[in-house]
């Protein structure tokens, strides 16, 4: 007791109030404020860029979903010589329609109303809208009907914003009759040479099929590899080598995977070019390392006590893995899979190597038919000279981003469902 008392007397208390100390404290607070300010400005900057991107995309892109139209009055009874609506109902409808010569009827009607040069005002494929209208609503062939047909691309651009001088003049001339309608073609058509006729459906379907194949191949193989490497494989030089190789593979530039796909799937296996199957396989090669790495981390994070508990009551190694480790690791594995799939969805370069950049005007009907995917379609349209493609490119980007968001939302929903609460 005595010694501690002397200790207190000898003790020289810290002077928290002296100048040097006060200044050190001020400096520490200042450093903290600086760090916070840096963080906040970084967030503001990135949010600003994101907002800029969104505004530009949506501003340009929304116009891609609309089209400029002119009314055309078609006197069907006179021009068809009295076709009846019944002809175009049912299974024979399309065949009968082909013999009707809709294109000529439309052209003639246009020339009557807009003069000899009238056809040039309209999109070359615009008459197909009339075809569709007749099939959906055969009644119109028995009456005199006014239909709204898409105008030619330059006029469309000029009406929506600013176009070439001649187009602007035409817009000024027709101002009272021009109107804007929703461009359904954009959601149902595929690639075309005329920006008024292009659509996103072909690329969207291509992306869907490709992603499906990628997921189908990469997810099971990736997850099983991760489980094997973590739970079964002996730890030795060979497995170390495999681990390093997988980490390297995840960092390999994607175009290299394109070359690999070209060499293996096209040249060696002789699979068809431009097919969603090959695209999916190539992207699966690229996605697998990401799934394996995140899967291994998720498996590693499962507490060993759970494995011991299961082993302790006589579960076999496989029962431990599939009854306990995998369910607990699944949320983490799914997170990695989302990241990998999102990267695969936005990937263009490897797909160019396997021929998915071809001009494909019909949506793919199967996994071996020629297809293209959204990012490649965006890349192709952004390369077009025709100004009408600018807004289509932006519109396609919106569709791609929506696709991505839907995919991520689904994955997050699944992840939360599997999440175990401890």
């Amino acid at each position: 007791m005595n010694s501690s008392a002397t200790f207190v007397e000898e003790r020289n208390p810290t002077d928290w109030q002296n100048d040097a100390m006060q200044q050190r404290i001020r400096k520490r607070y200042a450093a903290e404020r600086r760090f916070k300010a840096l963080g906040i400005s970084a967030i503001i900057l990135s949010a600003g860029f994101l907002a800029f991107l969104m505004i530009v995309m949506v501003g340009n892109g929304l116009r891609g979903f609309t089209q400029t139209e002119l009314p055309v009055e078609i006197d069907f009874p006179a021009m068809t010589g009295g076709a009846s609506a019944d002809q175009f109902k049912g299974a024979n409808g399309p065949a009968n329609l082909r013999t009707l010569g809709v294109q000529d009827i439309v052209n003639t009607s246009v020339q009557i109303q807009y003069g000899e040069e009238g056809s040039e005002l309209f999109s070359a494929g615009g008459w197909q809208a009339v075809n569709q209208e007749i099939l959906e609503n055969p009644q119109i062939v028995e009456t005199k009907t006014t239909l709204y047909l898409p105008v030619e691309s330059e006029i469309d651009v000029a009406f929506k914003g600013s176009g070439s001088e001649t187009a602007e003049n035409k817009v000024a001339e027709l101002k009272d009759r021009l109107s804007t309608g929703f461009n359904w073609n954009f959601l149902t058509n595929s690639d075309a040479t005329d920006p008024m006729q292009v659509g996103i459906w072909g690329a969207l379907k291509g992306s869907l099929i490709t992603m499906f194949i990628t997921l189908l191949i990469a997810f099971p193989i990736g997850v099983l590899s991760a489980l094997y490497l973590e739970e079964y494989a002996p730890k030795n030089r060979f497995t170390d080598l495999i681990e390093v190789s997988i980490n390297n593979l995840a960092a390999v530039p994607s175009i290299i995977f394109g070359l690999l796909g070209l060499a293996v799937f096209l040249n060696l296996f002789g699979l068809p070019r431009s097919a969603a199957l090959v695209g999916g396989l190539t992207l699966a090669l690229m996605t697998m390392p990401v799934i394996v790495i995140s899967g291994r981390n998720a498996v590693k994070a499962v507490p060993p006590s759970i494995r011991e508990a299961a082993l302790g009551i006589g579960a076999s190694q496989m029962q431990v893995v599939f009854h306990h480790v995998l369910p607990l690791a699944l949320p983490g594995i799914l997170t990695g899979t989302i990241i990998g799939m999102a990267r695969a969805l936005g990937e263009t370069a490897p797909l160019l190597m396997i021929g998915m950049r071809a001009f494909i005007a019909t949506p793919p009907g199967g996994i071996v038919e020629p297809a293209t995917v959204l990012p490649v379609q965006i890349f192709l349209w952004s390369d077009e000279v025709n100004r009408g493609f600018v807004e289509k490119t932006s519109a396609a980007i919106i569709v791609l981003l929506l696709f991505l968001l839907t995919m991520n939302a689904l994955a997050i929903y699944l992840r939360n469902r599997f999440e175990t609460r401890w």
Binding site: P303, G312, I313, L328, W422
Partner: protein
């Protein structure tokens, strides 16, 4: 269960040297000793949990009812069903209480019907003294129970596969005194139905729950005998020093 001349190596390092012990059905056997003396290592040899450590190597004879458990034809999955284990930290599965207990019987096919399984779950929980506390919430998560309840759940889970031996690796070290008392009470009740081996740091606990005590030091078995003798009249000086708190 008998062990003769058991050595355990971790790589080059010898963790257990020449240990021979008999574990009997009517006794609770306690392993005591300072940290790192190898008592947990030895315990984990008895149901081959050391198999999961690649560098661990076990030599000597360990037999369960005359069968060599390290023989190549021994099925380790069945062995672990016959020699159950309770761990230091309660480790219920993140599943319902019911599923925690039912898991073992399910994977071993011990119940042929839902009723039979229900029956096993109820008996196991009753034997572990947990039935009264959880019978209304069998579908709640096992991890939502308190620490002591979780440990009794783990004991019930081990009982559910009807083992011959239950190994307990410091089962109370993560629990408060009241929960500890309940576990000790439970060990008393289970005595005679199962051969129980318990590793503990707590000498009072060893004295309270066991009939046989083995004292380990630096990988060797220093002394093994009737608990009361070990605590009141040890033959080895090391044992006396440890029990009187001179080291350890």
């Amino acid at each position: 269960m008998t062990t003769r001349n058991v050595d355990v190596f971790y790589g080059e390092k010898q963790a257990i040297k020449d240990v021979s012990i008999d574990v009997t059905m009517d006794n609770v056997t306690a392993f005591i000793g300072p940290s790192g003396c190898g008592k947990s290592t030895f315990l984990r040899c008895l149901n081959r949990m050391n198999d999961t450590i690649p560098i661990a190597r076990v030599t000597g004879d360990i037999t369960l009812e005359g069968e060599d458990i390290y023989a190549p034809k021994m099925d380790v999955v069945q062995l672990r069903a016959r020699v159950g284990m309770v761990f230091q930290k309660p480790n219920p599965f993140p599943k319902s209480i019911y599923d925690n207990i039912a898991y073992g019987p399910r994977i071993h096919g011990l119940a042929s019907s839902k009723d039979e399984l229900d029956n096993i779950v109820e008996t196991s929980l009753q034997r572990a003294g947990l039935w009264g506390e959880v019978q209304d919430r069998l579908q709640d998560s096992g991890t939502a129970l308190s620490g002591g309840q979780q440990q009794r759940l783990c004991i019930a889970r081990a009982i559910a596969v009807d083992p011959e031996v239950i190994l307990m690796d410091e089962p109370c070290s993560a629990l408060d005194p009241i929960a500890t008392a309940k576990i000790e009470e439970l060990i008393h009740e289970l005595r005679g139905k199962y051969a129980i081996v318990i590793v503990t740091h707590n000498m009072q606990q060893a004295a309270r729950v066991s009939q046989r005590t083995a004292f380990f030091h630096l990988g060797t078995l220093v002394e093994y005998g009737v608990t009361s003798d070990i605590f009141t009249n040890p033959t080895e000086e090391k044992t006396r020093d440890y029990i009187t708190g001179r080291y350890g």
